[in-house]
Amino acid sequence: MSTTKRVLGGALATLVGVASALFISTAPAYADNGPHVKVSTADNVLVSELQPGRCASCHRVHTAKSTDGMLLKTDQTNLCYSCHGDGGTGAMTNVQSGIGYAGAGEVDPTTGIWTDSVRGAQVGALRGGGFDQAMIDAGAAVRAGTTSPTGATAHLIPAATTPEVTNGNHMGGQGIVWGAGAYSETPVAGTALAAGVQLECGSCHDPHGNGNYRILKAIPDFTPGTTAQKEARQVNIPDTDTKVYTTTNYWFAADTNAFLGKTSADGSAYQTNMALQGVSATDPTPISKPLLTRGTNPQPVYVDKYIANVAAWCTTCHTRYLAPSGSRSNDSGDAIYTYRHTSDHLSGGEYGANRNCMSCHVAHGSNATMGETVPVEWPGGTATSSDNRMLRVDDRGVCLLCHKV
């Protein structure tokens, strides 16, 4: 083969290669459970379908208003609020005010299955609370056994009562990643976010979908440590269940459909309404039991792994809060987080997730009030705070939910 032919052949191969690369690169990526992809249900499993044109809902290649991923809006939060805010008309969840539309149905109290064609939009409080308001009945829950003051049919606090969040503006601003870092870093209690760095929706969620529960990032932003440490700590929580973001009773701990189609460790089928702890789905009375306790059900209560894994996920950043069973009497070696309440059961086994982070806290914002200021140890010293620490119940009433006195 002559040199000329070789050169021509090489050029042709390069041309074909470049053309192929261009073609492949323009093929849209698959995404699952992202807010901007089509989702359909098959056998009770969410399946995402290709929607190539959806990119332009948030991005512009040539006319972007932001340097952040060529987004159309400089403020990522407001972009997300377009669907998930007070003015959002493109999603079931309003994380700004902490309400959600539970869809066309309600939980059948006998089967625990979310049924369709039942009256109402079923507006309910989001389990994660809200960033501006949280419709959590935080004041009533401590009075276990009493009737909810919101009445027999209302399961969230109406906006007229202005249940603004009282945990401060932890999103969109700078702050401290409490409990971040290894024990060896004592007495540092947390890592301050660098100047100019903001906690935003995308810090924890992947809008393009990643197969994780609530499209949570396996490694959230601000996860401390080296790349290897982060990767070792990453948490994948497969999301294969129908989502129910709201609850008609705030103390319903888990998606009632989380157990559908699953088999427990002993091979028996889960009870689909296991999370209800024997309380009627239509009974608005706050239950007196903590989330996912053993309850009174004669059958063993197995928890789904993703519930337990929430603790693992939260502690990818708040590392020192990860406390396995026995931590209350075992010195962790940390000057501040020495003895701790059990916060996880990563195995997800029997009774495993009765004390995960979400048992006491919400992720977005709580309207619980704190009447007392308390000294809080933080990097370099202590500070007094009346911040509610995103607890579910007023004045740390979460303690009383389990430890009734």
Partner: protein, 367 residues
């Protein structure tokens, strides 16, 4: 030409129409000299004809001007909006209405005297403005259920206001002055909805964009007769958060299929056609929400994440793609700038109302 002091009989105008010679006498010493002179008969005829033509032209022009004045007073539209005049002008920013927290939907009375705005902020509700942007009242929503999220609303051909309440799963009607009338009730009590857009046709047919299901594949358009009978369901399996609706005089239904980034139309047979869709071009859609079509087939679509309102002219046929004309506004907080526009309405005066959600105002544009 008659001058001051010339004599012209009271019946001279009529005389013109009668063809009488009313030429004033020529002054002595004038052209032609000598005594009083009269024009030649042929010249008189010619002059008379010219006068007749002139008078007819003047009368016609007066009629036209009168008609224009009457038309303007009745419709208060810019002259560029004359029927038959096909000038594709683009609107400009005029003013804004303030006092609403996260405004979402907007509807206007045909004469623009009342403008109704839903707001989804801390306390969701419906605010009524007058034509100058003064808040007249907050509409009274039913006490039960306690939580409301009204999103889109429409003024029906008979002037009544229809408001969709997504959270309550209800549709309320109000008088043109904002007094509560009733809650729409389907005849079939097993039919429920969580409404976004609503539209009312001339015959009272009600169209409801229903997003009750948390599965977008089940989002749909419900079509009710005026008596509440469910006539048909449109779009199930083809829509994803349908937002605003508008029905034309022929019964064709236009829909912003928001999460599909599409603008579609359903003909009277219920057949769907895509008019414009997603993309990154100027005339393509990102996240369309509200829209309005005026009587000149001009289409205005709020593309909320692009912070613009896209203007098109509809095609000559129902399914023909609209022609993109212009993108109105840019992102920002100044006059004519948007931060997540959502709802669009247009009145008979061609005033365009656009809810500017994150700027907490309603912008008014016009020609």
């Amino acid at each position: 030409m008659a001058r001051s002091g010339d004599t012209l009989s009271e019946g001279s105008v009529l005389d013109i129409f009668e063809g009488e010679d009313v030429t004033p006498p020529t002054a002595p010493g004038g052209p032609g000299g000598g005594g009083p002179a009269r024009a030649l008969p042929d010249e008189d005829d010619s002059r008379n004809r010219r006068r007749k033509v002139l008078a007819l032209v003047l009368a016609f022009l007066m009629l036209v001007v009168g008609a224009l004045v009457a038309w303007y007073l009745l419709t208060r539209k810019p002259l560029s909006q004359l029927p038959g005049v096909n000038v594709v002008a683009t609107p400009t920013y005029k003013t804004s209405f303030f006092g609403v927290d996260k405004p979402l939907g907007v509807a206007a009375a045909a004469d623009g005297s009342r403008v109704f705005v839903t707001h989804g902020g801390t306390t969701p509700g419906v605010t009524m403005f007058d034509r100058d942007g003064r808040i007249l009242r907050e509409l009274e929503l039913p006490a039960e259920p306690a939580y409301h999220v009204p999103v889109y609303l429409t003024v029906a051909p008979d002037g009544t206001l229809w408001v969709g309440d997504r959270a309550a799963g209800a549709i309320y009607t109000f008088t043109p002055e904002g007094d509560p009338l009733s809650t729409f009730t389907p005849k079939d009590e097993t039919v429920f909805y969580s409404p976004l857009g609503i539209a009312v046709a001339q015959d009272g047919t009600l169209y409801v964009a229903d997003v009750l299901s948390n599965e977008p594949a089940k989002h749909r358009i419900l079509v009710f007769a005026a008596d509440g009978t469910l006539l048909r369901t449109l779009g199930e399996g083809m829509l994803n958060y349908p937002n605003q609706l508008q029905v034309d005089a022929a019964g064709n239904l236009y829909v912003t299929d928001s999460n599909h980034a599409r603008f579609v139309v359903y003909d009277t047979e219920g057949k769907q056609a895509l008019l414009t869709g997603p993309g990154a071009g100027l005339g393509d859609l990102g996240l369309p929400r509200g829209f309005a079509i005026d009587d000149r087939d001009r289409l205005f679509v709020a593309d909320t994440t692009d912070h613009q309102v896209r203007m098109y002219t509809l095609g000559e046929t129902l399914t023909a793609p609209p022609t993109f004309v212009a993108a109105l506004g840019t992102q920002g907080v100044g006059d004519g700038q948007f931060n997540f526009p959502n709802g669009v309405a247009i009145d008979a005066r061609a005033r365009i109302y656009i809810t500017d959600r994150e700027n907490n105002r309603v912008q008014v544009w016009g020609f």
